[in-house]
Amino acid sequence: MAHLARTLPRRALPTQLTPYLRRAQALSTITIQPTPQRTRPTPTPTPNQPKTPLAQLRTYHSTLHPRLPDHEYTNSQTAILTAALDHVPAHGFTSTALTLGARDAGFLDVSVQLLPRGEFDLILFWLASRRGLLRGKVEEGGLFRRIAAEKGKDVYELGVEERVRGLLLERLRMNDEVRHVWQDALAQMSLLSNIPLSLTELHALASDILTLSGDASVDAAWYTRRLAVSAIYASSEVVMTRDPTPDLSETAAFVERRFEDRQAIADKFTGLGQCASFGWNTAVGLGRSWGLKI
């Protein structure tokens, strides 16, 4: 069993991180935030931040451990962004909204330098915070009951598919108040340098929707389902920006159609797969019955 005495697996702990963490601890600055009058150390971001500081890819989750935050903005950044969101319906996802937010939060005009990505940070914060809000609604428990009531069902009769559909629509409705400025945000998100983070956030949303709906796929379906939900959500967002109806009924109809399409495609693939595996098993069985050593 000498091979069992191998060294521990090399862990993904970058060695150069340690001095920064040590330094960050020693230097964490104290701020007082305006809303709750409490002093707490600003969690100095580990300076060696990964390339995608927001919505980091899902990691090990456990109900016994606190969930990692939806974003990694510091308190001051969050204060500015939260205040700026109030100005988004009037000013859009612009630097004006950010500046007004900074003023509201007690900062100076120049303090928007805290957000290196500018307007895109505001968009990302909107996405991440709405995602958190959606999870909050589900965990309070009222959302699925309402969705079930709309369909005239009991909440336990609600299938995963219906829950996904309901959550997706609910998330789209959250964008209602910024519907008129959302096209600009979509344009920002599709800029070349912003695409990776936008996709990460989209994936995080799709993943959250599926997890909250109780989807427990642990094989390749994990990927295809997230892909499908992401695609449906992204296309519905575009439709929503051009939806003239006040209650988003056109968007809702669009979402329904997309889910039906998805179902149709999935059925076709399942059928094809079954057909192929049947043919293969028959061939192998035939071969064995002829005495082939396979």
């Binding site: 069992l4 935030q33 989750h61 606190p66 390749a220 990927y223």
Partner: protein
């Protein structure tokens, strides 16, 4: 050094920036509150405070569960592909093959459950591993009983040592927790026990394979080396993607 680094990494987690997150993710607040409750109640006789996992430790668990699930998937498929050919030539091996397959299927079920419970991303190479494992099982069985057993030996050696590494890692956390007067949470303790049990079962398969003349396989060294190298590569890949 490692522990020191982990301690430092853990520090930012200790102070969740919940001031402005409250409205975003009520769950954050809820969990951190219940954690604080358990932390303050840490007097003698009371349950010890819970050991908080750092980001790196979460990432380790993430990749560990992903690899284990992929490994058990491959193991079941290897046995599925081997069994018909082996049993046809050596009917007396039927109960052994069935026993090993059943155990592997049980492991797969365990890990499927864990992967779903802890919201771990399954490996993106899932379909590729399915094909590769079936091919490996089928081709070694076609080479004969000894080759099939050599395949089992090689695979179980790698898997067993891999589980051993994981057990050792979690034990090091336990020691770390002990030093701080904390204890691992129930899930981790269960997982540790599960990993140990599964490791022992995998090593039992290894013994069965050796008992069934795996060492007699004709090109023994190249065959085993190639399979072990393949396993190691697959483990490395599955840890990442």
């Amino acid at each position: 050094m490692r522990n020191c680094a982990l301690k430092l990494c853990r520090q930012p987690m200790r102070a969740p920036s919940s001031v402005f997150l409250d409205f975003l993710a009520p769950s954050t607040v809820k969990y951190s509150q219940c954690r604080h409750a358990s932390t303050t109640a840490g007097t003698a006789g009371e349950p010890k405070p819970r050991y908080v996992l750092s980001k790196e430790q979460r990432e380790f668990m993430d990749s560990a569960l992903r690899v284990n699930q992929a490994g058990e998937l491959a193991a079941t498929l290897i046995y599925t592909a081997q069994t018909p050919q082996i049993v046809r030539s050596y009917p007396h091996l039927r109960p052994l093959m069935k026993h090993m397959y059943d155990q592997e299927a049980g492991h797969l079920k365990t890990f499927n459950g864990l992967v779903a419970k802890h919201q771990v991303r399954p490996t993106a190479m899932y379909p590729a591993w399915e094909v590769a494992a079936t091919f490996l099982g089928w081709s070694t069985a076609a080479l004969g009983r000894e080759a099939a057993m050599a395949c089992t030996e090689a695979v179980e050696t790698e898997i067993g040592s891999h589980y051993n590494d994981q057990v050792r890692e979690i034990l090091s956390w336990e020691a770390d927790a002990e030093r701080r007067g904390e204890e691992l949470d129930e899930e981790l303790k269960d997982m540790l026990a599960t990993f140990r049990r599964i490791r022992d079962e995998e090593l039992e398969h290894l013994d069965h394979a050796v008992a069934n003349d795996s060492k007699e396989a004709k090109p023994y060294d190249p065959l085993v080396d190639v399979i072990r190298f393949g396993c190691r590569t697959a483990i490395k890949i599955s840890e990442k993607i």
